[in-house]
């Protein structure tokens, strides 16, 4: 059973976070990070060679998180594996108890440490969702061959409410829901008003009743990080007023202000109709998670949400 799915179906406010597996053949950092997050988040995404850089496999990282008592959301991208390997990975993950899977297209290899690699993209994120749902609900591979027993999985997707063509972003989530997405985690929300406009379109399409929406929130830790995010991360928008607020404080207080802003953003999102939870972009900053969640009024897992 997926605890994340339980939290969401019971109407609770879900919190997920992210773990990047290490560049190396060890799981120590995952165990350590899981220990910091365990009491505060319902599940943690384990990234799949994030940014097209070679890392420990997401299925292995997911098992390490499970062993440390934290439920994983295994990320699966279409960048490195064709439809045969992706289906095989779902079978393996399900057999070993991984219950949440996040299907995404993935970054292009150009951005990573092997820019010369062959980009696979045999499926896209929507076709992957379709495929995984088909395997679970029809008990068959894409080939039509029976899967015995079929995999179990709670299917997730991602969406960026802020990237062009803006008029099509809610529709694109609609396509993902049609293809099988049961929950979605969004790109970093700095612009709460802009996110609210996207949510209004999502509600008009009735998607919030068919898919749980977790808004992406992070805490800026430094001016350099803020500048990098604004200028170099595709699909992230930092509105001018947010930028001014975070740069108005002395540099040694940027992290504290960033955490305050994250808490305020989460508090605003908890009252927004159709928002079922938040996804925290706080990798490497896990120690700040309890403070942010408490200030936002969300609290720990054991308190119920």
């Amino acid at each position: 059973m997926s605890g994340l799915s339980d939290r969401l179906t019971s109407g609770g406010f879900a919190v997920t976070a992210e773990i990047s597996p290490p560049r190396g053949a060890g799981t120590g950092t995952i165990t350590e990070t899981a220990g910091l997050l365990r009491d505060w988040v319902d599940a943690v995404n384990v990234t799949d060679n994030q940014g097209s850089n070679v890392r420990l496999a997401s299925w292995a990282g997911s098992l390490a998180a499970m062993a440390a008592g934290l439920e994983p959301v295994m990320q699966m991208t279409c960048r490195d594996r064709n439809r045969i390997a992706l289906q095989s990975d779902l079978l393996g993950a399900s057999a070993l108890g991984i219950r949440n899977v996040l299907a995404m297209t993935g970054d292009h290899p150009k951005f990573g440490d092997h820019p010369e690699a062959k980009p696979v993209f045999d499926l896209d994120s929507i076709q992957l969702l379709w495929t995984l749902r088909h395997m679970r609900d029809q008990g068959a591979a894409l080939s039509g061959r029976k899967l015995d027993p079929p995999p179990e999985c709670f299917l997730g997707a991602v969406e960026n409410p802020f990237a062009p063509p803006e008029g099509f972003r809610a529709d694109r989530l609609g396509k993902k829901v049609e293809a099988g997405a049961q929950f979605v985690q969004t790109q970093f929300v700095f612009d709460v008003a802009g996110f609210g406009q996207w949510m209004a379109q999502v509600r008009d399409l009735g998607l919030h009743e068919r898919c749980y929406i977790l808004a992406g929130v992070g805490a800026v830790r430094s001016r350099r990080g803020l500048d990098f995010m604004r200028d170099n991360v595709p699909g992230v928008t930092v509105p001018d007023d947010v930028y001014r607020r975070l740069t108005a404080v002395p540099a040694d207080q940027t992290a504290a202000e960033g955490a305050r802003l994250a808490a305020e953003t989460i508090a605003q999102l908890t009252t927004m109709e159709g928002v079922a939870g938040v996804h925290l972009f706080m990798a490497g900053n896990e120690r700040a998670v309890p403070g942010v969640l408490e200030e936002a009024g969300v609290g720990a897992v054991r308190d119920g949400r």
Binding site: T105, D122, I126, Q138, P165, A179, R210, P234, G235
Partner: protein
Amino acid sequence: MPARPRLGTRLAYRLQRVLRPRPGWRRLSARVEASGPARTLFTGAERQVKEALFGCRMCGQCALPVTGYVCPMGCPKELRNGPCGGVGRDGSCEVYPHLRCVWVQAYERASGQGRVADLRLLHLPIDHRRWGESSWLNYWQGRDEGLWVPAVPGPAVTGDTGGMGPDRNHERVLGGS
């Protein structure tokens, strides 16, 4: 890489009506297919025309009629179901920042002609054995049916992580040709 179509949207949609599968086209394509040299010649001509107009890469299963006549295979990720999340603020491709995202172009062209609904169709995984084939012959011969399917309203979320519950899209989504 993303290409900018050289054929205006209105003209493209007009041609679409002319080229729709009908008995004449079906007979012609059957005769072309019956002869090896004719098929090669026809496929070569299609390649020339579509390469010049759309930057066609001859995947053999053309999506142009429902993408505002912007070729999605020009996307560096070959995304047939819509844009990725990395499109630049100015509508640029994240992999080729000096070029416009094919899906930004598709949305502009389709919405200008009242065809946004086309972009909501769900595209099936393609058949990689068809690269290099004539998609016109495939289209007129009906081998393209089921390349995309309408998005139909599904059931509300239940959070069910297993089970064999109803999957209403299944037959239309995956049972196509």
